[in-house]
């Protein structure tokens, strides 16, 4: 099940990165592209193990950097920085509540681009920044917050549709059977 879950999450990361590069509707409507990897990382951190979180950070970060002008590998660390602490402290989080998912999605979608840009500036790069970047950041936060519960719902549906479901236990107990008729 875990293996299947990991494959599913990595496939979703691949599709998310491709979607961000191929479909420009959010950019045309709001002036910014929404990043789905932080929302996916929240799902992975709350529902899988540290190996899947690391694989998602590596796989998603490399894919994102390969399609963008970022230096290769620069997006891995921000994703890890968000995924690791949540994965370690997930017992304290009410992961099934949509409100918690939205808050975590918003926080991750705000933190990942911020850390990414900080890393770029530290590395001597000159990304395109200005007052408009603040608006883009808010759009990314809102988009990530909205996407997180959707991702949770999608993965739940996938598990129900594709995963093994344990058979429901019957309530029948032979020792409590009411015997009718004559013995």
């Amino acid at each position: 099940m875990n293996f299947f879950n990991t494959i599913l999450i990595l496939a979703a990361a691949f599709l998310a990165v491709f979607g961000e590069a191929a479909f420009q509707l959010p950019r045309h409507l709001f002036g910014a592209q929404v990043d789905l990897l932080p929302a996916l990382m929240i799902y992975a951190a709350l529902n899988t193990n540290i190996v899947t979180v690391s694989l998602l950070a590596a796989f998603g970060g490399l894919g994102f950097d390969a399609l963008s002008a970022n230096p290769l590998g620069v997006s891995i660390l921000p994703l890890l920085a968000v995924g690791f602490p949540i994965c370690l402290r997930r017992d304290l989080i009410l992961r099934d509540l949509p409100f918690a998912q939205i808050i975590l999605g918003a926080a991750a979608s705000g933190a990942v681009p911020l850390l990414g840009v900080l890393l770029l500036l530290t590395g001597g790069q000159e990304p395109l920044l200005g007052w408009g970047s603040l608006w883009q950041w808010l759009v990314m936060i809102a988009g990530g917050a909205a996407a997180t519960p959707v991702i949770f719902a999608l993965f739940d549906w996938c598990h129900h549709a594709l995963g093994y479901q344990p058979q429901a236990e019957t309530s029948f107990r032979p020792d409590r059977e009411i015997r009718r008729g004559r013995q």
Binding site: F14, L15, V17, F18, E20, A21, A22, Q24, R27, H28, G31, A32, Q33, D35, S54, A57, A58, L62, G63, F64, D65, A66, L67, S68, A69, N70, P71, L72, G73, V74, I76, L77, L80, P113, G116, V117, L120, G123, E126, P127, L128, L129, G130, W131, G132, S133, W135, Q136, M140
Partner: protein, 255 residues
């Protein structure tokens, strides 16, 4: 994991660029599937278009083709005359542009860069720093070349600075620099002389300085201007001729 990241970040730029283009090549089959799906409605519409409409369209295109042929003849005569005059003055003969059509396959998913990927690469004779344009004007330059795809850095990205000239009597020159992150069609023209006489609507073209972009490629039109650094130089906003937000196909200029 941190070690892997450090290793990746310390790769030589050439190796990192090749690795990036290799990884981005994994996304190409998906792009093929999506572009085929996008073309389906258009093909379906073509299939049900009446024959009379198609014939009318062919007629219009034939007429346009004849006009272009006549203009081409005129341009050839002008070019011949230009070559003769250049030979008389002793200037180097101008080479005609060789253009290759490319399709935009992917856009940069990050909001802080302006790059696109095109479906031409080394196998098509592309090298780094070739100018990319549309029929409307300059788009950018090739920044990385893979076997079958290349990355184009667009005007307005911090890594694409262009030396430009204004078509005014003084032929003022400046450098095209990025505008704001939300302004897709506006860029800044900086380092113009302090007393530059700028008017909205004046054309801006490449100056040919810098060795990457040949002179005369349209860049855009002046929108407004202001003094910068206490009047040390003038800055102007330029509306780009090419619509960078709706790029579908571009021309790569192979000099």
């Amino acid at each position: 994991m941190a070690l892997v990241v450090a290793l990746l970040l310390s790769l030589p730029s050439h190796a990192a660029s090749h690795l990036k283009l290799g990884i981005s090549g994994l996304f190409l089959p998906l792009f093929g599937a999506v572009s085929t799906a996008r073309q389906l409605p258009g093909r379906a519409a073509d299939a049900i278009l009446p024959r009379s409409e198609l014939l009318k369209e062919i007629e219009t295109l034939q007429r346009e083709n004849q006009q272009l042929k006549i203009q081409d003849l005129q341009a050839a005569a002008t070019a011949h005359e230009n070559d003769q005059l250049r030979a008389l003055v002793g200037w180097q003969r101008q080479q005609p542009w060789k253009l290759k059509l490319a399709s935009i396959i992917l856009r940069d998913p990050a909001n802080w860069w302006r790059t696109v990927q095109i479906d031409l690469g080394k196998r098509d004779g592309l090298v780094e720093n070739l100018p990319v344009l549309t029929s409307d004007g300059l788009v950018g330059r090739i920044s990385a070349v893979g076997y079958a795809q290349s990355q184009v850095v667009l005007i307005g990205d911090p890594r694409c600075r262009v030396s430009a000239r204004i078509l005014n009597p003084a032929h003022d020159m400046g450098v095209i620099s990025p505008g704001g992150p939300l302004e897709n069609s506006l860029v800044d023209l900086t380092y113009l002389s302090g007393n530059a006489n700028l008017k909205p609507g004046q054309e801006v073209v490449t100056s040919g300085e810098g060795g990457i972009f040949p002179p005369g490629i349209p860049v855009g039109q002046i929108v407004d201007s202001r003094q910068a650094e206490f009047g040390l130089y003038t800055e102007a906003r330029v509306k780009l001729s090419a619509d960078l937000g709706a790029l579908d196909q571009v021309w790569v200029l192979i000099q």
